[in-house]
Symmetry: D2
Subunit: 354 residues, 4 copies
């Protein structure tokens, strides 16, 4: 039986996000796992030996026998073809050297890594928010293409605020995150640090979270992306939650907006996308006063919907709300896959036929 | 052996805060447990039978044999004397009927309950912040007195911001809390709700947290407390932590202040108090990038110090920081006890000699 | 569109197990929710108002508008018909008065309650283990019928040991449990008690866990069930896990059996059932040295499979292993539903046509 | 002011157990930190830079400025003297090469490492259980000495069973553990693995736990230790607890013993030791049905007491009970320090004067 689905090469296949991507592809209508790549330590071994499978469900999701390729451009081209579609779940430093090299080689890369998210040549895309930014690809100097998705903490906030920004314009956002441990990969955070504890994020997460929404809510101009002109401040804290990043946001808009109007805009948000991983609706509003909660709500829309709650007046900023998304699905593996679906839908995978 | 220490009647002795108060009194230099009172369900039984002891250390902290009195003013006066010092850890609805009745009867009550925190006759006091508000007592219409301490979430924020407010004036504060389960009492939150989860606080915690700092940072005027005139917005979230409330705050001041100056003000904050439960220093600044953390830092200063960290510039508000305090010590039992110490130090316990 | 599926009345519909049952029925091929019953406090209100929905997925699983009936036999007969199939998720004391009354009224009741599990007239059944015990119904003095499923902790152990018992006979079992909080219902355990803690089960769980496997692994004789003649001892401990009871068992058999042979018997265990909720296979053996784990393995076989691991020699008892099942699915709601399926398959629902 | 206390060199000073040892020494009456040693990666740097301090309380416990020595015998002798007392918290593989080399060089080493616990020349000692085994030192071929303490899981079980073994003799023990994450060191277990989960211990913990109690409850004979002749089987499981290992034990004795008699023996157990870290009493019996619990009871006796509960009849083995100890205090750093105290008390530190 030949599988007519388009093969995807998973870069960083043994990590938390790589495993989620493989799990999602097991039942994907358009794509399948084509090849797996990981660090040189894993290369050459069958996936089941190279990988400590961390997720529930069938270990290795049916691809345990695939050999693991090294994450070097030339070896990947040799092993997986001159033109290929890749989903990158690489650490940032590895991504930096490999992703552009693959785009130069003619590959189309959808990346979850942070390495090129701020690169003016590379679109940072959530399909429901800024699919049009994809046209940056037309100006990319490579025969292939490189597209990124945002950080897992920027994602729920950007999606929740998109309809408000379009209607009345954002002026400033204060945010505080409650981030799940899966966002740190595996082994990630030590149990000692997180048991019955919360921990301010010591890295540059706050910078990413402040910068990425402005870029995605910006516009595509002659000279690239023009950032949206609101100010943004974030505090990021890791909490003992398995999956699902919650964000508390206090929001000032350019024109006044009532909480009821904001809720209505969020509820009726319809990006009009018809992609397999795009949930319908994209945004859910939960009216219960103690929601959203990561353990109960992160899986809404098969982990791809964003749940918003407690949309209320704010004495300081005007409006406040909570929003939540599954960080390794909507915030990582599912985000990259959704970008791959958008690329196909927009015709960019034609490049692979070159 | 007669114990020369001043007896305190613990109201709400079987709850989480009551137990902490009893534990603190076991080794207190000025005060001792005089009598215990709880709901009518417990009244008449020895404390060890009425109480499910929830804390570590010696069960019942040496007072297991004391009979439990009912929480009614007349019964309390009969059982514990015409004039007495009481520490109230009562639920708000019970506090509302009992506390003023006791003040009318001549008792001096230090209360952790929220019932009278917003009453213009009643001082809401953190000794290091607004000891002078105690003079409201002089205008109280009762032969006794009633003093309250703030909510456990307002406490670390008010203490951390006090030196900044004094120096440059607060204009606006956006805050988000990470609150421990002990703040909900016992049994409090269900394990089902909190395991590997966080939960927006469904009650009126956000209102309390926004109102109380303005009152405490206000000034005592002719006609009572004049609130400080900054705006304040809070988001409150319960997290799976045992003890210790962390608050992320984004702060706008009337005059510009650098993070370094803010840190210096916090470090050098010295209220000049000489009370047994007052920690020295009051405020700690921890420079480690992943601090403060509730499990490791809540016990600083025997649970009475506030730890501040990550004092940094904020793109939206100017300044941001984290602050943390132990919610049942500095935020409840220890706060009430510290108020009792202040009352003694200021001579207000002379009323008990009437 | 009329729904041809058999209606089931859920008794105890607002609790943790009742909610799971309703969730399972939303997609069940044979059965649907017919009516909902709960305590008199809830009776008369629509389910969405009477119930605090605790599970993920769609709140109220599509039956939020159904009115809640009281849990009294006469009211149930009035409200849901003279003959009906009921799934009881009642507390034991309520079950004791209602379940037999309903069987006397002609209802067929599959109960998860412990009230009648030890009653000699009532079969205690896991379909894959002792479906033949169902024939006790033929001797029941009621026009309806009453069938029970075991405690959520007995379940994984009984299923894991069944193939070994059949082959070589059990002589003695020492067990220790690691039980999830959902087993205590809602609100169940306090977060204060379980955060970063484990807690010996203070109730009679150890007695149930020791008694029930002997009954189910026994045989149906002239005078009722003849218990299997092994001895059994259990220690039960609640752990901070959401769903999934793990059991460590040390096992002495009548004839020697190697771990390899035991694993082979478990792997090849095939009860030959063709029921919608029966997983295939019933028992999984996981060879990874750190499995089974509740968070990752409880959902195997849609929460109805039992996962067994670390089958090894034991210096004291001969054989040791871990086994795991989802406590509110295989151990409660799914167990009762599986018994309902077995009743239908064995023709016992014909009684409802009387 | 010169500190008259005996200096101890901490080997493995940056790890979880090393930090606990340093914390304990800050207030020890007999000993003080003399020098610190860690892996070559840390060597040469001040402790505050080499170490990520993981504990509560004052970071680095006053020795942050001490330079870290490498863990090699010659360098240690050069850096800390020809004769010294060392407390080893080394990983087993490093311990294997260093500890004997130090004993050969004339050092007295109290080790928490597992490397030499089964070595017939080396005493495995809990002072309250088998202080007499220390006399093995007299037969050691080295000018110095090497003494070990048991695994943190063996410790509570051995202490709890010691008085029963002495009275009626153990015949067999089935045990199951509930082990805290601090037992794995730092970073140890991944938060991903342990959040809302429990995990069978994949290593050789069960073998250690079965072997060590037999050795410690054995007797010192002509040819070394004669193991106690009971059989023992353990299941070891990591649980999401910070500190404190709980063990469920089912016990068969040579002569019958009632639970009441067992409780009485445990309560009245008095080893007659007068050492600073030895708690009084050694063993506590808690009668509450849901105790012992790690979070509440691990710190009993400043983390050095063992709490026993639920001493009950067992249908299979005769007797069952739970026991609990703090794993990094009584089970590791405190255990090694207690052995050092015993060595001093028994005169073995005279060797250092050589």
């Amino acid at each position: 039986m030949s599988d007519p689905r388009i093969p995807i090469v998973i870069l960083g296949a043994t990590g938390m996000v790589g495993q989620r991507a493989i799990q999602l592809l097991a039942e994907h209508p358009w794509f399948r796992v084509g090849a797996l790549a990981a660090s040189s330590r894993s290369a050459g071994r069958p996936y089941r030996e190279a990988c400590r499978w961390n997720l529930d469900g069938e270990p290795y999701a049916g691809v345990g026998d695939l050999p693991v390729l090294p994450c070097e451009a030339s070896a990947l081209v040799r092993g997986a073809g001159a033109r290929a579609l890749a989903l990158s779940a690489l650490p940032s430093d590895v991504a930096r050297t490999v992703e552009v090299a693959l785009a130069e080689a003619g590959w189309v890369v959808v990346s979850n890594a942070s390495a090129f998210r701020a690169d003016p040549r590379v679109p940072l895309v959530i399909p429901e928010v800024n699919a049009d930014h994809l046209r940056l690809i037309d100006r990319q100097p490579w025969p292939g293409a490189l597209v990124t998705n945002p950080n897992c903490t920027s994602t729920p906030l950007t999606l929740a605020l998109a309809p408000i920004h379009r209607e009345v314009g954002l002026e400033a956002v204060c945010a505080a995150s409650y981030q799940a441990v899966s966002g740190a990969g595996y082994p990630g955070e030590s149990a000692w640090d997180l048991l019955a504890n919360v921990r301010p994020h010591p890295g540059d997460e706050e910078q990413k979270m402040a910068a990425e929404p402005k870029r995605m809510l910006g516009t595509l101009g002659q000279n690239g992306i023009v950032q949206a002109s609101f100010s943004m401040s974030a505090r990021c804290v890791r909490v003992p939650v398995v999956d699902g990043h919650l964000v508390a946001a206090q929001v000032r808009t350019r024109s006044t907006i009532t909480p009821e109007r904001a809720a209505s805009l969020i509820r009726s948000f319809d990006p009009g996308l018809d992609l397999p991983s795009a949930p319908r609706p994209t945004l859910l509003v939960d009216d219960r006063r103690d929601r959203p909660q990561p353990r109960l709500d992160a899986s809404a829309g098969r982990g791809m919907a964003v749940t918003v709650g407690r949309i209320e007046p704010c004495e300081v900023m005007g409006l406040k709300l909570f929003c939540l998304a599954h960080n390794t699905l909507r915030g990582a593996a599912g985000a990259a896959l959704l970008n791959a679906e958008l690329l196909r839908s927009e015709g960019y995978l034609e490049r692979l036929k070159g």
